[in-house]
Amino acid sequence: MASIQLSGLTKFYGKRRGVEEVSLEVGDQEFLTVFGPAGAGKTTTLNLIAGIVTPDRGSIRIGDKIVDALEPADRNVAMVFESYALYPQFTVYQNMAFPLRSPKHRLPAAEVDQRVRHFATMLKIDHLLDRQIQALSNGQRQRTALGRALVRRPDVFLMDEPLSHLDAKLRHSMRAELKEMRGQLGTTTIYVTHDYLEAMSLGDRVAVINQGRILQVGTPGEVYFRPATVEVAQLFGDPEINLIEAKIRNRQSTSVRVEALGEDWSFSITPEIGSALDKLPGDNVQLGFRPADVTVGVNGNSSLHGVVYSFEPLGTKSVLTIDSVAGQRVRALVDGHKTFQVDRRIEFTVPSVSLIFFDPESTRYLVRSTRTEGDD
């Protein structure tokens, strides 16, 4: 059990930036997901904590110990690798027992056996203990890798995309199981993933990272509903968030009229949005809204108009791509029971509580109505 503190971690591979100035605090027993696209520096961060890679600058503290000078074996962290990194010459049992037979963590044979069997049962691989690694499916390998990390009872768990090589169905069920297991383990965990659903589902907090830099650290709700930058907003959600430029034409205390998507659009605002808009140097503001928040209407009350560019049913939901008056395309996620003909004229709007305001210059988050997050 331990907290982790990274301060100013920097690592370059030659000219290529692995991570730069990564500072992060993970509380005791916290589950932190590190989320970002491929090549963002996620794995580098884990490798730095594990001691597999040495940083150019910066420092790592685990518990109350600075571990910068310690060998991987002395940091008491356990890691689950994306490639699983199982020992191919051993059986499942031998793989799981391997850490407990090491000089560092050696236990009496009886206890090794007891622990291996305990975690194998928990991971539902107790019937596979005598199997060779080659004879295992991907899902079973993944469980074995997890088991090898669990038996140690380390201070810290590091998990590098452990679910990414599983098929969709297995990934969903493993995600749920991992989530259930968390309660029983209570170990500080850093979990790396490129899947935003995994990041949001598993993490107490999410650290969003791209191009070696941390963009935002926050609860899943914070990063999803109040993204620190446009870039963060774009990384969460499928389809991606809609981003439009708006020019403020007229602002009253409780409403605002903007020109956006080639149309006049008025909507109500809260005082906090008002004061945030007042701080803007110009009239321009960037608006973000998720496809699921677009309401497609037919009653003539909606403010925005367009033509159906494309309609893609996905089962319970469908993606509707709308050509707005200005030509810019807007995506809407609509109920799966409705169908829309291509080229049909429609109207749509976005509830003002769903709008995220960004500074068009810095692309930083400005404000969003507090009345959100689904309670409506």
Partner: protein
């Protein structure tokens, strides 16, 4: 359609067996020929092919001469050469596979290039150097010069094996609480074992069969390959004795190959360490 294919498949299978058989005869015939020659008396050597009075006289002659001493010379030099290569080559192969450093590919290529020049081309300078340094006609000198033959082979085969092992496995074992040396001995070495065995055997064969180096760089410390020359006497060629000596000389290789056949197949087909 499956039924209609099956006679065709049978013919294909038959053809396959026939071809393999033909190749086996082609490959084994010289060995058979050598064996036949070794049990033929000199008088019948050139007169008959398969009809002769078998005799062990050739073997007796060879074994009663000092041939066996040279046989053991060869054994000492070859085994030692392989051992030295293993000690030097395994870490070198690991380093070339794992670490990124300046001139890495150049070094690897240089090592490989030791095998490019024909031995006869470099033997003259080597001879002079060996004379000067007092390495001429010593075990040590031969073992050293054999590294030119064995080291490149070993390094290049093992490098491929080390490259096949994911660095993650090493990192995992270190995190599991082992020091680097323990990781190397307990995790990596078992994984490259097939390659180690195959490369070791090939090195041994090449060292054992080496001819130019021992011929010109030694005098008393001769090896069995060189000493076979003596049967080419000025007046006559003792084919029977040559064959008997060759048969004895081939024995260690054959025995070794049979003992480690299992590893050899795995080792030479590579990629045996996929997790």
């Amino acid at each position: 359609m499956i039924q209609s294919r099956s006679p065709l498949a049978k013919i294909g299978k038959g053809l396959q067996i026939l071809l393999l058989l033909a190749y086996a005869v082609f490959a084994l015939f010289p060995l058979l020929w050598m064996f036949i020659m070794s049990i033929k008396p000199d008088s019948q050597m050139l007169t008959t092919t398969f009809i002769f009075t078998p005799t062990l006289e050739n073997y007796a002659t060879v074994l009663h001469s000092d041939y066996m001493q040279f046989f053991f010379n060869n054994l000492i030099v070859s085994v030692a050469a392989v051992l030295v290569s293993l000690v030097v080559g395994v870490p070198a192969a690991y380093a070339l596979a794992r670490f990124q450093f300046k001139g890495k590919e150049d070094i690897a290529f240089t090592i490989l290039s030791f095998r490019f020049a024909p031995e006869i081309l470099v033997i003259l300078p080597l001879y002079l150097i060996y004379q000067r340094l007092g390495l001429y006609d010593t075990y040590f000198g031969l073992i050293w010069v054999y590294q030119l033959i064995t080291l490149p082979l070993l390094i290049w085969i093992l490098r491929g094996f080390f490259e096949d092992i994911s660095p993650d496995i090493e990192a995992a074992a270190q995190l599991d609480g082992y020091t680097w040396w323990q990781v190397f001995l307990r995790v990596l070495l078992p994984l490259v074992k097939p390659g180690l065995v195959a490369a070791g055997l090939l090195c041994f064969i090449f060292a054992w069969n080496s001819f130019t180096f021992p011929l010109l760089l030694s005098n008393n410390v001769q090896t069995s390959t060189v000493i076979a020359l003596r049967y080419l006497a000025s007046d006559t060629v003792h084919y029977g004795q040559v064959a008997a000596a060759a048969a004895i000389s081939a024995l260690p290789e054959v025995i070794l190959a049979l003992l480690i056949q299992k590893h050899l197949v795995r080792g030479l087909s590579f990629g045996a360490v996929k997790g």
